[in-house]
Each structure stands twice: as structure tokens, then as C-alpha cells.
Symmetry: C2
Subunit: 315 residues, 2 copies
């Protein structure tokens, strides 16, 4: 049995599989033999002092060598969950200022307002330049509440996406040799280690791009989960909305589609089991596009909605 | 001819009708006989020092005695347009912390990052409590660019809303006596002076609520303009997305629907002429709802998209 390591700073993020509370568990970093998911390990933040959190950005959540924006948002979301008196992001917006790199980073939070049912906070993720100075990578503005405290009424008129059963969908782990989806070993524009962290099964109607025949429609749909089986929670929803291939691939746009801004509404704690993510782009114009994502859980609840503004760099 | 008043602080917002540049005109407050629209007069900010702007929140843009959120966002947007090196909000998010009141306010801006084609800034609107201390009402995070510098390609697949011609739509100024739409004189829950500032003609399919027969569908559509004829510009789009009656009225939800957060993407400078605004709610659940707005100009361009998260207070 490993020695209990006594930590002087609380480390947040080592969550137990099953019944994981949405609020980051504040505790020391003692390893007690329990399962620690990749997501929680790699989004863990250590509070150095109130409002200041150290984090190590993992290289395991890259897409074409860029650290995935949803993974970064989950890190910021975890820090804010600790800093604010409410546990769950209700609405969270990130502006991506410059590309983050794997390695050390710091999150600085500010409490803007605390209320009875909602609190608002701001957070910055910063890294260090060659001279050791802090460079801001991402700034976030968010309002938090308690999802468990919401009334149970559901008058949602939106319908879950029409996506075939999981066994008729495809992911990088599938062996269909003519479907070349990015995986960590595939030299498609660089490393995409994130593919090994995720269980993604794409709707065949939205993987024409992988077969050299993009549909021309700005749509992307998939079953989604974490490869190690960790159930979804409000923080992993922040990853889920930004973890599918870009709709741009299906529109036939080649090249990089970096996110300028991403806003996520978390509307309900997701039930255990796989999620369905459906992304739509309807306004590709002037060198920008929007991606609207919906995340549905196994109980057919619309648990999260997001919109991002992304820049289309042609060629 | 009025005397030219020499101002020691630049006042932004007195814009000329027709060919109004999207960037707030920085100049003194000299009255030179030209038309000053209500919108520009009431969203004017005066730079006290770099990053600090004084403003007087007008009572003319209230809805049921509350200062309209889009009007407030336009004020913040104007200040940021002055503070940042780029003139147009590309993506702007506001969190509404507490209710603003007509009267004096201050906007404090911070430049987060300046780039070649995009800059990012943050802004707060504050008012004063009984002891004269500043109380933050709204915090904004936004990225700005230059709409005029965008390439002209349009691959938008979204279609303009199906709304009848303007002469078949209805607004508060119409004399159909059985259609009681909020106007400044109508005792529907308090003053709604904003109705006198706007030209709104609602699609008959979305005004069942005004006849006591809400459709049950979370939709609201209207032709939209400013009552004094000022053409739309990127800042007035921030007002347009939040100026229609709430979709909640058509869902049959009574009571106040305050905005928690509003994010607007401005995608193109609007052409002159009336706008069409189409708002949809698909996820009313747990005491919250989202309102998705699209704004289309006279050239059938999707010039702005927004989503807000609003709280449903029943009863």
C-alpha cells in the first residue's frame, strides 16, 4: 500500500468513479488505491493560495498538437468551482487569447459577485514565456449555481439527435481500414493524443470527410464518453462540447479552425452512460463560423448547450 | 445656431444618421445641428480618463421598469470600442449581476490582449449605492475586430425567418384595439418606455400572448428598427437581440424572465433598412431557459446571432 503523502496544498480533481460529486473534491493528494480517471488527474488544480491554482497542462489532450479548448475550459471550471460558493458552472464563457502548451500553468480567479443561488467569477489561465513572465492564454467569465437545487420541471421542446445506435457508429479505434480518423498514431497533421482519452463513435452520416467525401453540411454527431469509463459530470461536459472533429471538415474546409470564444450552458447533471453530442454550423461567412453543440444524456435530457465562434484559416 | 460647447472630455456616441461608422465617433460634444439619434444620445459615454467612462443610463429604454439589457450592452460595447484598437464587437458576453437603474453610471474597461486582427477586452458597468460606493451591475468579456476587413465570402446555410411582410405585422403603435402590446402608457406591469424608442412589428403567429392565447411555442419574430429612423449598426445589433417580448410569453409562462448572461456574435455590418429578428427557446427546464436570436438585414444576411440564459421566475 502506498505511503500516504501529506500535502500542504489541497489538490482538487482526484475524484472517485461512480457518484462523483460535481464539485471538485478538496483534499490532499493521498493515493488510496481508488480509481482516478484520466480526466480528473489531468484537470486537477492545486490551490497555492486563495484565488491562485497551479496546474500542469497534459500533453494527453491535444488535437493536432494543440491543447484542446474544452479540456482547458474544464481546468478553469474546476478552479472556479473551488473559488466560488456554488459548485456547478451554469454559464461559462472563455476567450482563447493565445495557444496553450503542455506544461506548467497557473489559474488566477476573481470572485465578481456572490448571491444566494448564483455566483459570478472570472478566471485567467496563464503560462510562462522564455523570461518566466506570465502570459495570459485564456480568460473566462462564468456564473455558477447548484444543479442539484434546481426544480425538476422539464418543458424542453428540443429533441435528441437522430444518431444511429452506437454499434453502427465509428471511432478511431474501429478497424474499418478505409476510415482514417485521427488517432494518436495517425500522421494527420500532427499528434492527436486526445483520441486515446475519448470514446467517440461518429454518426456515419457525418464522417464523409474521413473518406474523402465531405457531405457539404455543417454537421457532426457522435456518441461520446471518456475512454477509461468515467461517467460524465458538469465539468466533463465542458470538454464534451469541444471534443468532436470540426464541422468544417464536413463543409470541405481544410485547415485550422481555432476557437476564438466558447460559451457553454450546463443545464442538468448528466446521468451515467454515454452522451450524444450533436454539432451544427449554419453561418460560415467572412472567415468565421459558429459551432452550436447540444449534449444529450442517457435519459434523453438536454444537459448542455454551447456555441463557439471559430476562425476559418483557409489553406 | 447653438453655441459650440467646448468639451474637455471626449464624448462618444453622437453619430450622424446615414453612413454612421461603427466605431464610436470620438470628438467633443459640440452640437452642430445634425441629427442625433436617441440610441446614440442615450448610449453616449464620456471618457473621464483612459479606461474610465461616465454614462447616464436613460429611463427611456426600460421594459417593465427594468433598464433593457441590450441597451446596457450597447453602452458597454461603445466604451470597449473606444478602449480597444479594433472597432467592432465580434463576440461579446455580459453577465448581469444586479439590476441597473436609470441615472449615473461608470464603465471601467481593461485591455486583455491586442492582436493584429482581434483584440480582447473586459468591461464593468457600475453604479453607486446609498453611501456612494461603486456597485458592479454588469461584467463583460469581448473580442473585437474590424468587420470592414473581413473577406466577403458567404456560405451561410441558415435561412431568413419566415415572417410576413411588415404591413401584415403588428406593433404597439397599431390601433388594433384587441391587441394589447406593452407601450409606455400601458399599465402592463409597469413602465415600458422602450416601446416608444423602437419600431417593432411582431409576426401575428407570435403574438397570441397579447390576445390571451399564447401559442405554446417558444418563438418570437418581428421586424425591428429604431423609432427615429436611425439605421442599424454593430452596436445597435446588441440592442436588437434583446428588445423583443420574451419567448416565455408565448410559452404561457407569466412572470419575470431576467437575463443571467447574454452572448452576441456580430458577423457583418448590417445594411440600411429594417431588420428581422427571430428568437427561439427550446430548453425551458429547471427554472431556466435559453433564448437564441438571429438578426437578418435587408440584404438577407445573418448579421448577428445571440444566446442568452434567463431565469424563469414563476408567479
Amino acid at each position: 500500500m502506498p505511503d500516504a503523502a501529506s500535502a500542504t496544498s489541497p489538490t482538487l480533481g482526484f475524484a472517485r468513479a461512480g457518484g462523483t460529486p460535481s464539485r471538485a473534491v478538496i483534499g490532499d493528494s493521498e493515493f488510496d488505491g481508488e480509481f482516478v480517471s484520466e480526466f480528473d488527474r489531468d484537470t486537477a488544480v492545486t490551490r497555492r493560495e486563495p484565488g491562485v491554482y497551479d496546474v500542469d497542462l497534459s500533453a494527453g489532450w491535444t488535437v493536432f498538437d494543440a491543447v484542446n479548448g474544452g479540456y482547458l475550459l474544464a481546468i478553469l471550471g474546476r478552479a472556479l468551482a473551488d473559488a466560488l460558493p456554488h459548485p456547478d458552472p451554469f454559464t461559462i464563457t472563455a476567450h482563447y487569447l493565445s495557444a496553450s502548451r503542455p506544461g506548467p500553468a497557473v489559474v488566477r480567479t476573481e470572485t465578481v459577485r456572490t448571491g444566494r443561488t448564483l455566483s459570478t467569477g472570472q478566471a485567467s489561465l496563464l503560462q510562462y514565456d522564455a523570461e518566466g513572465r506570465e502570459v495570459e492564454r485564456i480568460r473566462v467569465l462564468a456564473s455558477y449555481g447548484d444543479l442539484a437545487g434546481l426544480p425538476d420541471d422539464v418543458r424542453t421542446t428540443a429533441m435528441p439527435p437522430a444518431i444511429p445506435p452506437m454499434d453502427r457508429c465509428f471511432g478511431p479505434q474501429d478497424s474499418a481500414s478505409d476510415v482514417r480518423l485521427p488517432s494518436s498514431g495517425t500522421p494527420v497533421g500532427g499528434g492527436s493524443a486526445i483520441a486515446d482519452r475519448l470514446m467517440i463513435k461518429l454518426d456515419p452520416a457525418t464522417l464523409g470527410w474521413a473518406l474523402g467525401a465531405p457531405s457539404g453540411k455543417g454537421e457532426m454527431r457522435a456518441w461520446f464518453g471518456l475512454a477509461d469509463g468515467r461517467d460524465a459530470d458538469p465539468l466533463s461536459l465542458l470538454l464534451a462540447v469541444d471534443a468532436l472533429p470540426p464541422t468544417a471538415f464536413e463543409i470541405g474546409v481544410k485547415g485550422w479552425v481555432p476557437t476564438v470564444e466558447l460559451t457553454v450552458h450546463v443545464r442538468h447533471r448528466p446521468a451515467p452512460g454515454p452522451l450524444r453530442v450533436s454539432i451544427t454550423t449554419r453561418n460560415l461567412a467572412g472567415g468565421f463560423l459558429e459551432e452550436d453543440a447540444e449534449v444529450w444524456d442517457s435519459e434523453d435530457r438536454l444537459v448542455a448547450q454551447s456555441r463557439q465562434l471559430a476562425r476559418v484559416r483557409l489553406g
